[in-house]
Amino acid sequence: MTDPILDVRNVSKSFGALKASDDISLNLVPGEIHALIGPNGAGKSTLIKQIAGGLKADSGEVWFDGEDVTHKTTVARARLGLGRTFQVSSLAMDYTVAQNVVLGALGHRGKIGLKGFFRPAMKDKALLEVAHDALAQVGLEEFANAITSELSHGQRRQLEVAVALTLSPKVFLMDEPMAGLGAEGSQRLTGFLDQLRHKAPILLVEHDMDAVFSLADRISVLVYGEIVATGTVDEIRSNPIVRTAYLGEDDAQ
């Protein structure tokens, strides 16, 4: 197996008596989609925040692209190439769709410079090219001039992915990209992510089991802050602990 690009090593995080992350280790290797599943309150979002920055682990390390990023800020991690989409869409709501993606392209450029104070951003060909390319990939091109707050929930999810694309990240960190997409939307996104993994590997937190089982190369199951199993789709499907702890709940319904 190739060296992992993202390596979470024995990360623990407690809030009072609650162990949100209990000695978690997982990694992501180039070319794969690694899905992280688990019931609500299992600590998925807490783990994502520790990987993306913004929440500090009590112990353990996060390595990214051969570098220890445990003590780096969110911004520094983003600049190293960690592209993130949020569970609840986090966009500049007053901006047009195009402006949001240009913002991503601008962030990827890394510096504003003196020219950046006087040249109109929305006429900067290099930025627009990256932006439109990203919009075309997620199929939002025709909405480029729509105001973001007027987009449907599903379109906002697509825009989140488009902004992440403009950063040409080394790793995608996606927190429930399918949430609220509807059957057709999530099918299209599934097809898209399937291709995307060849650009950069994806750590995918997702509740949509159809998507997870059709996409994931590996699945990790998080229950009460602990990874109870990691394996291929078949291994996870047949794992007795997972069946009782997680999938069992579904069967019972």
Binding site: A78, D94, Y95, L103, G110, I112, F118, R119
Partner: protein, 327 residues
Amino acid sequence: MRKETILNACVLLGLLAVPLWALSVDEPFIITLATKAVIFAIAGVGLNFALGLGGLVSLGHAAFFGIGGYTMGILASHAQNYAPLMEWPLVIEGTKSMPVIWLFAVLFSSLFALVIGALSLRTSGVYFIMITLAFGQMLFFFMISWPAYGGEDGLVIYVRNGFPGLNTLDPIQFFGICFALLCIVLFLVSRMARSSFGLALSGARQNEERMQAVGMVPYRLYLIAFTISGAITGLSGALFADLNRFVSPTMFSWQTSGEIMIFIILGGTGRLFGPVVGAAVFILLEHMLGGLSEFWHVYLGAILLGVVLFARGGLIQLVAGREVAHD
């Protein structure tokens, strides 16, 4: 062309037409009023850069207005007394030249804005309002108790400073200088609002989390915006001092900060011409209502309340609609 762009052009033309009309009917006082409106407009445009674009509600912009004013006062008072500012290790003289004074006013106010901003921007929301207010008050009381430059009484400059090729004592010529500066400032600010920096700054106001995720540091964007904002307000302070030929600690008072903010709220937050409209209306009200009653602020308060309750985008939105133009 957008409605707002047409409105903006009308505002600018109106601001130019009033003093020209006053000149033709020989009413120099009205020219002075128009000059005051233009100078206040520059101060407002300065604050609006931080407040409208960056969402930084500063209640301490009087600090920069005052620093601009005292830069003029100190440089000119040394020049009129033929006393150098410093004799050792090198001799530094005062000056009566407007361009030089503007340069130093912008320099000092941006330095202060950089320092005050660096500390204040560690907080946000109500705390930011309070800490900027506190810095403003600190400078206010410092100026009151600093006897070297007049203390509470302020400084009187006997003759208005000079501008090469112009007679600045002629009201219409001084108005022309201020109006030209307003146009330059408006041009630069509109360029910056549409630039990459403006896009990022306004993006940070809307969503800091998003900016961090694309690898940009909101604090840095805010600090640059606050510094530019302070510099512009500082320039207007130097002009205001020249208009009155007098500086006093009142320029630093929190009421001054409040007035600058009122221009923005009246005209429209985040609108390029918001503070221009606001300042003009403010001066108009002060002149008309001030004649009626000493307590004209009561009426101003009522109008402000009306704008906040019924026209939150300010007077510009009332006339031109919601869509924002940046040109």
